[in-house]
């Protein structure tokens, strides 16, 4: 069985992506507080919701990235085969 190696770089990239999701959701939280006339304390009080929403966005992105990666991998493989023949 082949070992799957997760590189340090990959972990770093994933972490950055997740943090970006959290930041985006917190920005959405700021927008929500302004639009929905909420309290500014919700910036911290709603961190739980923000993290859950960030996780949902991160997982959604991961699925999209995986799908794109697979398609790209297949396309690249086909091109290499053509070149070799």
């Amino acid at each position: 069985m082949k070992d799957i190696v997760i590189t340090k770089r990959r972990i770093k990239v994933e972490l950055y992506i997740f943090l970006a999701c959290v930041a985006a959701m917190e920005l959405l939280n700021v927008y929500a507080i302004v639009v929905e006339d909420g309290k500014w304390s919700e910036l911290f009080m709603s961190l739980g919701y923000v993290c859950v929403a960030a996780a949902v966005v991160y997982v959604t992105l991961a699925v999209v990235r995986l799908a794109v990666g697979l398609v790209w991998h297949r396309f690249a493989k086909g091109r290499n085969k053509k070149k070799a023949s």
């Binding site: 939280n29 909420g38 009080m45």
Partner: protein, 428 residues
């Protein structure tokens, strides 16, 4: 509002401290406890007339009260005497209540007999100079209730009626909130008591009427006097008004077993302001249990459950609302009319406990303590008898409305000078 759990002792202690003045404005009968610290060396000698199941229940509290001593029992049903003697083994036993009333060793009597016997026993007890605790309903007819009330006034003896909600910490606390306007304007009260049993006790045929007196019109007025009496009082307490009209209907729809009292009743009490209090009782379904829903413009109270609910609850976090708005924008169908046609769905907020936790006891224990304190201090607590008089009167008038199938108006001659009522002796 402090929502800490309040034990019976702590509640009494609070009455003596900061809470006393505040709560007494809403529940003035709590003055019965004003001198409770100074009465510990006194003992009230009590006689129980009719120590059946309810009588024994009351005895179970009195025997725990160091200021009370049950010295006499009276019943014609030997099994009741035998059971009662287990609670008060030293008590003298009488077969005739008049002999018990002649006993100079008895300071006060508790009457827990069938309803139709209350009047003669209560009048005799007050005439004999005994202080009196009478189980609700006070009497079988409104005229009898009025006479007993007048006898209590003329003799100056203490009179309590078994309206334990008046001493229930949940009710006392929430009534204060209601009177302070916490729940806005109270415009409706929906009281009900549902059970699913035949209300019948095992008894040989010759003792059926004696044991099952609640089921026969000649002894009781059924659901109105045995159940409604407690709950109607909640309405007058909350609104600080007495309703002047009642209409309703009663029938035997399920328990067609020879009983003569209704097993299915529905009444509407109308206050002068137009506010209504409805009362329903059915004893062939218990799903909803019992409750008095007090509906205010800002909130709802369910004192039996020990909870209240505000109409407007704290909104969800802005972030959640925004997500919900987005979700609704994407998935909801576009309405082609305004939203006024949409039905109001029931509010599902979980509410708050009045005393910070689920209720565990009613006010029976405190009510009996208050009675004992009143007998020792010889001070009739303010309004306690008037509240009880009107709860009896309203249940009897409700029964009259069921029987006669008409709108019954409160008779002027039986009004007391109390709240919105003015007694008119000329009409009597």
């Amino acid at each position: 509002m402090e929502k800490a759990s309040i034990s019976r002792r702590k509640f009494l202690k609070n009455l003596g401290l900061a809470g006393a003045g505040v709560l007494m404005a809403s529940s003035p009968w709590l003055s019965a406890f004003a001198e409770s610290d100074k009465t510990s060396r006194y003992k009230v000698k009590i006689g129980i007339i009719g120590p059946g199941s309810r009588g024994q229940f009351l005895m179970s509290f009195l025997t725990k009260n160091p200021k009370a001593d049950i010295v006499a029992l009276c019943d014609i049903y030997q099994p009741s005497i035998d059971e009662a003697l287990k609670l008060a083994p030293k008590a003298r036993v009488y077969r005739d209540y008049r002999a018990l009333l002649d006993d100079p060793n008895v300071d006060a009597v508790v009457i827990t007999t069938p309803l139709d016997r209350h009047y003669e026993m209560a009048m005799a007890a007050l005439d004999a100079g005994k202080d009196l605790f009478c189980e609700k309903t006070l009497c079988y007819t409104l005229a009898q209730c009025y006479e007993v009330y007048q006898k209590h006034i003329s003799t100056g003896r203490i009179l309590f009626v078994g309206q334990q909600r008046l001493f229930d910490p949940r009710y006392i606390t929430v009534m204060k909130m209601i009177h302070d306007g916490t729940f806005g304007s109270i415009n409706a009260i929906r009281a009900y008591w549902y059970r699913n049993n035949n209300w019948r006790r095992e008894a040989p045929p010759e003792l059926d009427e004696l044991r099952n007196w609640r089921l026969y019109k000649q002894h009781s007025k059924g659901l109105m006097t045995e159940l409604a009496c407690h709950q109607l009082q909640t309405g007058t307490w909350a609104l600080r008004q007495i309703p002047n009209k009642v209409m309703g209907h009663g029938a035997i729809t399920y328990w067609k077993d020879g009983r003569t009292v209704y097993d299915n009743i529905s009444c509407i009490y109308v206050f002068d302001s137009g506010v209504k209090m409805t009362y329903d009782s059915v004893i062939s379904n218990k799903f909803y249990g019992l409750e008095e829903k007090i509906l205010g413009s800002k909130g709802t109270v369910e004192p039996e459950k020990g909870k209240y609910y505000f109409e407007e609850t704290e909104p969800a976090a802005a972030f959640v609302r925004l997500i919900n708005d987005i979700e609704h924008d994407i998935f909801d169908a576009v309405p082609f009319a305004g939203t006024s046609w949409e039905p109001e769905s029931a509010n599902e907020n979980k509410g708050e406990y009045i005393l910070g936790k689920s209720p565990k006891e009613d006010g029976t224990s405190l009510m009996l303590e208050a009675f004992v304190e009143a007998v020792i201090s010889q001070k009739q607590p303010e309004r306690v008898t008037e509240e009880a008089y009107y709860s009896s009167a309203l249940s009897l008038l409700g029964h009259q409305a069921l029987e006669e199938e008409r709108v019954v108006t409160f008779p002027d001659e039986y009004k007391l000078n109390y709240l919105n009522h003015v007694h008119n002796p000329i009409l009597k």
